[in-house]
């Protein structure tokens, strides 16, 4: 039943954009039909997942397929259920948001295309998550990857967007190439294209390593693990905001899904793999947020935070893998439980942040942080939503980000504790790294929130911004509520996470410790409530005290200067300057500053930017070298068909002689 509901949802979502193609491009009717279908499909999909949790039953659907080796076989388990929720939820909210953000009447040339591929991307992701056959998985994967290409290049009339689209397309195909190799090795090891655990007796160690490395690279590119993240920042920045929300919140998690699924097949992973994942997680986390601090573009900054959060998720997965190697159930549950919860949390707060950012861009027509400012006065609701998202992404209580980071902290500290077996204290050093990530995230989001929403407007656009319509605020409100719900009542989610962990490590299904006993989730609830109540009480006390005293208004104290202007405010670049300097050895910021000024300086300017080091220093030079290398091949290939016929003729002669 649950599988049928999800499949029905997938079919409706995939076709949701089709009726719109037949309707007039200057009217809203097509968009209403599409949104209705997309919401219906997503609601059916979510219904299927809830049905699965309620009954715990799974009835795989298997259909014959004429493709050799392929089989249309889908099933839901604890893991796929967890990944299906953000796919359908964010798609549902994103479609409603699009009603106000990307109106067909305002974007007649690309609105229909956007909605068509929004639906197919949702369907592709849902399909790959429930696929039981690697060829079916690849079909879902490619539907998702190609739809995302068309979504990123929605505004393909701009050069920058087209360039971003190309980089994305190359990256995603490198990833797919790795997946082809991965599934070929899996087929060789397992004898079929059915996805399932590998037999430890027949598995050669080399094959296991090949599977792990191919999965890490292929899925790592999609997930955006540092240094495989090169496509991610621009793609998230260039896409329309509800597409960015879907890509950052959900699409990159498909890479994580692949990693989680494939690692669950490997019977006895060596400890080094877990350590490698943990190290990559720490690197992605710290460097992701460090790059984010240096950005001037609101959406690019959020995109780098996706890399940071993927890092946190990979840390959890690495811990779980180490736990599996050393047979420590508590590390598995806390590590993987934390990672799976962080997948949800990141989908919620990052979608919230991107939708709020979209709301800002919609109102102020710029993504430049240093041209915004003072929006809290003209857009109070958007500003509140962004604040909730910012506090949540920093992992601060009482919101959802705290819960998942708390679980990972407990797991990492747990590696210090001696069990019956040999412990592995080295991984505990990831805990201070997680603390560093958290503190850097606070610095970054204070900067963004302060520069965009607080103070006074730095440009005319920001001064005349307006609050967004309810169709945009509504989805943001739902996400805010979800952030609070998970932050205040994590005990509700514990059984779902437990189910996901059991799907990864089946021996923990009925035996072993439970998440709810390993982590004091009820304490998180009471502390969260206490915090909320105390803040409320403190606010009331201050408000009453102010009400009885004398309250005056005046200009901001400028140490005696009484006419402050918006240009005198601290900019986001100045705010970040010390941290960018501290990480200068890896960020390599580029600055232009006036030098050797004469006694009466003429007009000059200062400019700074933090480009993507991996893209600029490693990837682009490599590709340029490749282009130069292959240019030698042009001697043989110059588009003259007669010469090609000659090649064929000579080759045939050679073959005849050889025979």
């Amino acid at each position: 039943m649950s599988e049928s509901l999800v499949l029905l949802g997938i079919i409706i979502a995939a076709s949701s954009g089709v009726p719109g193609l037949l309707l007039r491009r200057t009217s809203m009717s097509g968009q209403w039909v599409t949104t209705f279908l997309a919401v219906l499909g997503a609601a059916l999909g979510l219904g299927g997942v809830v049905w699965f949790w309620a009954t715990g039953e799974s009835h795989p659907i298997v259909l014959q397929w004429s493709l050799p080796g392929a089989e249309f076989s889908v099933a839901i388990d604890g893991l796929s259920a967890i990944f299906l929720v953000p796919v359908f939820l964010i798609s549902l909210l994103g479609n409603i948001y699009g009603l106000g953000y990307w109106k067909q009447t305002e974007h007649p040339q690309n609105g229909r295309k956007l909605r068509l591929f929004y639906g197919t991307m949702t369907a592709g992701m849902a399909l790959l998550v429930i696929a039981q056959n690697s060829i079916l998985f690849l079909f879902g994967w490619e539907i998702m990857a190609l739809s995302a290409f068309f979504l990123v290049t929605t505004e393909d009339n701009e050069k920058e967007v087209r360039e971003t689209g190309w980089i994305y397309l190359v990256a995603t195909h490198v990833a797919t190439l790795c997946l082809f190799a991965l599934f070929a090795v899996l087929h060789a090891a397992n004898g079929s294209f059915t996805l399932g655990p590998l037999n430890p007796e027949t598995l050669r160690p080399g094959a296991a390593t090949a599977i792990f490395v191919l999965a890490l690279v292929g899925f790592g590119i999609k997930a955006g693990i540092m240094p495989l993240h090169v496509w991610l920042p621009s793609a998230h920045a260039m896409a329309p905001s509800h597409v960015s929300a879907m890509m950052s919140g959900v699409l990159i998690k498909m890479g994580i899904y692949g990693l989680v699924r494939i690692t669950s097949f490997l019977p006895h992973p060596p400890r080094e793999w877990g350590i490698l994942l943990l190290g990559l997680g720490v690197a992605s986390g710290v460097l992701g947020v460090a790059f984010a601090i240096g950005q001037h573009d609101l959406k690019r900054l959020l995109a780098y935070h996706s890399i940071e959060n993927i890092g946190i998720i990979v840390m959890g997965l690495g811990l779980a893998l180490i736990g599996r190697s050393l047979d420590r159930a508590d590390w598995i549950i806390l590590g993987l439980g934390g990672a799976l919860l962080h997948i949800w949390n990141h989908a919620l707060f990052k979608a919230l942040l991107f939708l709020s950012a979209g709301s800002v861009i919609h109102a102020a027509h710029t993504r430049e942080i240093d041209r915004l400012g003072g929006l809290a006065k003209v857009m109070p609701r958007t500003s509140l939503c962004f604040l909730v998202g910012a506090v949540a992404i920093c992992g601060l209580p009482p919101l959802n980000g705290f819960v998942s980071e708390f679980l990972i902290y407990l797991g990492l500290f747990g590696t210090l504790m001696n069990g019956e077996r040999r412990s592995f204290a080295g991984s505990s050093f990831a805990a201070p790294a997680l603390a560093l990530i958290g503190a850097l995230a606070v610095a970054c989001f204070v900067k963004v929130y302060g520069a965009v929403f607080l103070g006074t407007a730095r440009s005319e656009h920001a001064r005349h911004a307006h609050e967004s319509p309810p169709s945009m605020l509504g989805p943001m409100g739902v996400l805010v509520a979800c952030c609070f719900l998970i932050g205040l009542a994590p005990l509700l989610i514990a059984p779902i996470l437990q189910e996901g962990v059991s799907a990864w490590a089946p021996n923990l299904k009925d035996a072993g410790p439970r998440l709810a006993t390993l982590a004091p989730l009820e304490w998180i609830t009471s502390m969260g409530l206490l915090l909320n109540l105390a803040v409320l009480l403190g606010g009331v006390v201050l408000w009453m005290r102010l009400g009885r005293g004398v309250v005056e208004e005046g200009v901001t104290w400028g140490c005696g200067y009484v006419a402050p202007t918006p240009r005198m405010q601290y900019t986001s670049s100045s705010f970040a300057q010390m941290l960018v300097g501290m990480f200068g050895w890896v960020l390599r910021p580029r600055t232009h500053q006036p030098k050797d000024l004469p006694l009466f300086p003429p007009e000059t300017y200062f400019h700074s930017e933090v480009p993507d080091v991996v893209l600029d220093v490693v990837v682009l030079p490599t590709f340029r070298f490749g282009a130069w290398l292959f240019s030698w091949g042009r001697v043989f290939q110059h588009g003259n068909i007669q010469t090609y016929l000659l090649y064929i003729f000579l080759a045939l002669i050679a073959l005849l002689l050889w025979r």
Binding site: G373, A390, V391, L396, P397, F402, F406, L410, F413, L416, M417, N418, A425, F429, A431, P432, A433, L434, A435, L436, G438, A439, L440, V442, A443, V446, K447, G450, L454, G455, T456, A519, P520, M527, L530, L531, A534, V535, G538, L542, R545, L546, G549, V551, E552, E553, G554, V555, T556, W557, G558, C559, M568, Q569, Y570, S574, F575, Q577, M578, L579
Partner: protein, 305 residues
């Protein structure tokens, strides 16, 4: 019955003592400078005076500016309830409570710094930037120290990590604990904006960190900030005291005075440091904080080698 007694003493001490620490620091500095100085109770008078005063709010500010002091006070207020003071479990105690402690202070920092940016003043922006930047280095040092305590106690609960069993570890693994103690004392100075990181009494806004962040606050809201800062000093002071004097006298009538005495010693020590040192150049602050991280880092390496 005994827990109720302990909790009551805990709450009374944690809420009543903090301003006295500020007074004692000022008194120590005055004595060093050969002055009489204000009474040690002066911070209490200041708080009472501020609560009764009127307020001025800048026209650029929003509700975030008013929320800053409230959140800073509330988070510090909950944080003091998480720390075990004398040889007793804190009123709020559970596995992983130290993570909540660190993140509560992070929440307070988020709102204090946001409130500073809400004024649109370049000075306050500067202060906020410095505060969040230095915290990035202080936070890992705190967690590295916690790794040492977790390893020694085999527990993830502050009540055990800073419990009386620590006294026995001082003889066996003293070198690790000394390193953590040094590291945490540096963190205490940094997080509470004391010399050598920040000079709370300097006259030049350009060089301040915490004081410049709260320039625009006035009246009761400023009182909340002052009290919140005192509570935060108490939190870090209590951590250092429990680490340095974990011994128990066997009876609560002895344990509580030991603890209070320890806190007073810490306050005097801060005063001495402030009297004999100058403020560091801002560019040198990160180096000292990285050193604090390394001290704790060596502490844990000594344990798990």
């Amino acid at each position: 019955m005994e827990t109720i007694f302990h909790d009551a003493v805990h709450v009374l001490l944690a809420l009543g003592l903090p301003p006295l620490l500020l007074g004692l620091i000022a008194k120590t500095k005055a004595l060093f400078a050969g002055r009489v100085g204000p009474s040690v109770l002066q911070p209490y008078y200041d708080l009472i005076k501020l609560v009764q005063k009127g307020s001025v709010f800048s026209t650029t500010t929003t509700w975030v500016f008013r929320a800053g002091p409230v959140v800073a006070l509330v988070t510090a207020g909950i944080a003091v309830l998480l720390i075990p003071l004398a040889d007793a479990t804190a009123p709020l105690s559970f596995t992983g409570d130290f993570v909540l402690l660190a993140y509560l202070l992070g929440l307070g920092r988020f709102f204090t710094a946001s409130a500073a940016l809400d004024t649109g003043s370049p000075f306050e922006g500067m202060g906020a930037a410095r505060e969040v930047t230095f915290a990035c280095l202080a936070e890992p040092a705190f967690f590295l120290g916690m790794l040492v305590l977790a390893k020694l106690s085999g527990s993830l609960q502050l009540a055990d990590m800073l419990g009386s069993s620590l006294a026995s570890h001082w003889s066996a693994d003293g070198e690790s604990l000394v390193l953590v103690l040094l590291s945490w004392f540096i963190i205490l100075l940094a997080e509470n904006s004391r010399i050598p990181f920040d000079d709370p009494n300097t006259h030049l806004e350009l060089t301040m960190i915490h004081e410049v962040m709260v320039l625009d606050h006035s009246g009761p809201a400023y009182g909340m900030i002052l009290y919140g800062a005192a509570l935060k000093l108490f939190v870090f002071g209590a951590l250092v005291v429990r680490l340095a004097f974990p011994m128990t006298g066997g009876s609560p009538w002895l344990d509580w005075p030991i603890f209070v005495g320890g806190m007073l010693v810490v306050a005097v020590a801060i005063g001495v440091v402030e009297s004999i040192m100058a403020r560091l150049r801002l560019t040198h602050v990160p180096i000292l904080l990285v050193a604090a991280c390394l001290l704790s880092g060596f502490g844990i390496i000594l344990l798990v080698r």
